[in-house]
Structure formats: C-alpha cells, structure tokens
Symmetry: C2
Subunit: 195 residues, 2 copies
Amino acid sequence: MTDTREKILKAAFQDMRRQGFQGLRADKSIAAAGVTKGALYHYFQNKEEIGLAVIEELIAPDYLLFYESLTRATGADPIALIQEHLTFLTSVSTDENVALGCPLNNLIQEMSPLNETFRQAMQRVTDRMYDCLERALEQGKANGFVHLETPARQSAQFIVSCIEGGFSMAKVRRDASIFKENMEQLSNYLENLRS
Amino acid sequence: MTDTREKILKAAFQDMRRQGFQGLRADKSIAAAGVTKGALYHYFQNKEEIGLAVIEELIAPDYLLFYESLTRATGADPIALIQEHLTFLTSVSTDENVALGCPLNNLIQEMSPLNETFRQAMQRVTDRMYDCLERALEQGKANGFVHLETPARQSAQFIVSCIEGGFSMAKVRRDASIFKENMEQLSNYLENLRS
DNA sequence: TATGACATACCAACCAGTATGTATCTTATT
DNA sequence: AATAAGATACATACTGGTTGGTATGTCATA
C-alpha cells in the first residue's frame, strides 16, 4: 500500500469514527494530512470505496487480531485468554476513547440498513469473531477448561454482544467506568462457564 | 400537541431510525405525510429541535414505560418482571425490526460525540433506566428475591448494556435470533442474581 | 513517450433555512 | 351580533453554502 493511500484511509477512519460515514467529508478529512482530492479519487472510485477499504483494511484486521490468535492457541484455557482480552480492553478505555465509541459498532449502527455491501463486510467481521470464540470454547471443552453444557455459539455471540453493548452505554456517558463495570459482569459470566 | 406537529415528529422518527439524524432530510421525510416545510419551521426552529423533540417526546416515554413501572411495583419479584420484559422484547423482534436497530442506541452511537445537547438528553434516558433497575433490585433484596451480594447498580447497567448490545449484533446480521439467543444468556445471568 | 501520481478548478445537485404570501381562527371593541 | 385587528397555521418559492464527483493539467518516472 502506498503512503498516500494509507494517509487517506487513516484520516478517513479517524473522521468516520467521530462523524460516521455519512458525515465524512472526505476531502476535508485528508486535507489535514496534506492530501488533495485528486489523490483521493486517484486511489478510490467513490466515497463508498473509501468506507469499505476502511472496514476491510483497518477495522477488520485490528479486531480479528485477538480472536484469530484465540483459535490458534489450542490447548490453552480460552476463558483465561478472553479474560486477559477484557483486561486489555479495559486498560485502553479512557473517557476520551469511549466517547468516540467502538468504530465497528458505530458503523454497524449507521450503515447496516443503508448499504448492503457495508453490511456484508461488517457481518463477515462479526461472524469471524463468533467463529473464533466458538471454536476456542469447544476446544476448551475438549481440554477440560469449559463446562460441557456451555452453548458455545450462543456464549460466543453473548460475549461479543456484551463488549459492544458496554461500548455503547459508556459512549453516551463519556464514562469509561461504565465499560469497566460491564466487563466485570461479563467476567463473572465467563467464570460461570468453567467446568 | 397538534396533529401536524405529531405527524412531523413521527415521520422524522421513522426516517431517523433508518438514516440517522445527519441523514434525515426533514422536508422530504414529512412530505409523505402531506406536511410541508412551512409547517415544519413553524413548529421547530431548526433541525436540531426536531431531533431533540423526537428523543424527549417519542423515544424517552416509550423506553421508560417499563422501567418506571418496575420501580413502582414494590413488593414484586424484580427478576421475574425483567424476565417478562425480555420475553416481550423478544416477541416483538422480527428480522425487519432488528434490521433497523434500537432507535435510542442508533442515536447514541451517532450523536453523542457530535452534539452535547443530544448527548445529555440521551444520557438522562439511560440514567433513568439504570436508576429504576437499581431501585427495583434493591427492593428485591429487601424482599428476599435478590441475592444480597448483587451489585445493584452494576447489574442494572449490565442488563441495559446486554439489551443494547443484543440489538447491535442482531442488526448487522438482520437476524432476530441473535437477539433472542442473547436474551437467553442474559436470562441465565438474571437467574444467578436470585437469593 | 506513455503511464502513474497527483493538483486545481469546476459543476450540478442538494439541503437547511428564509422570505413572503394567504387563509383561518381568536379576541377585543362596538 | 357584527366587525376590525391581530395572531396562528400553514404553503410556495427562493437562496447560499456545501458536497460528491469530474475535467483537465502537470510533473516525474519507467
């Protein structure tokens, strides 16, 4: 990826996080990085392509990093790994950070009903998160870490849902402690999955 | 409230649910209801006022209906009442319905970082939900329904957060069963709060 | 000399908001 | 009861700024 293209995506990502995709003013967004409209429409056919590239190239890899690693860690205790991830999420959640919300969640809320291509791209990300968590929980069952009656798929969905819900509710209060306390409750739920 | 004003708010509410507040084209929105721009700017000073009125007059009363009733039901089993509410939410959640998401959650995600007046109006709604749930749980403790070690405030936050998270994740898949399965997990969590 | 990588100027559509006009309804006065 | 005088409740036409996108030109490199 060229340097200019990367600058465009990063600037678009930042502004989309604040103002949404509809609120994104692409040329103004990149101007601060010294990139002009000419460059923008050289690398992207239209605004939609920018949004999709942000999802595919910035959001998806970032979000899937942990979940992919989770499935690869065969033999490990999945609950401990998820708990670690929650601790990590909590540690990076400042008031300023939660005020802008979860980039993926933001886009889901805004764009799912408006653009089917966006929706499918985002569904692919969440489905992958579910798949990874489900597999990890199943492996955890086989390895004696997870209670055998745990409904792996539903639990996977619930975990992701709790995280995103936590971001949502922290956002409206600009209050990271809301997120942290929610993660504590989710943590309790996770401990109940132990065998 | 006059009939015309009501028509404007209802039309704006519907379109805001799909396209967000930024995406709302107020005059086009009300045109289908036979109302013109003249009427719009007769009842509202600007677009912002429409959005705020939608929150205060349509969303807030609708959302608080259950939670207010919950606090009033002193002596009742709060967990049973909340479970009933989850069942109700599940029963009205069709694929088409979840595809549009929770109107409050949508607006929170979109507008919290962009408009402080919006944010405060929405925070008032969520705080009220927390307050009602917290009180109900505390009453439940006093009446022997709820485990005494239950952190009432945190649990209240978690419950709301799970519901909103459930809407979020169901939205991207246009799949009501995601919401239903999440409510099942939340239901399990609630049962664990019993004394 | 052809192509990639931009920069700049431009355009048509759109959109929030305004200006202006008018019919109806209310209220004070006779 | 009749009428004049606002006030209310809109409808229509217009405007100025914005926005996504395009057309065109330039410069460096292969």
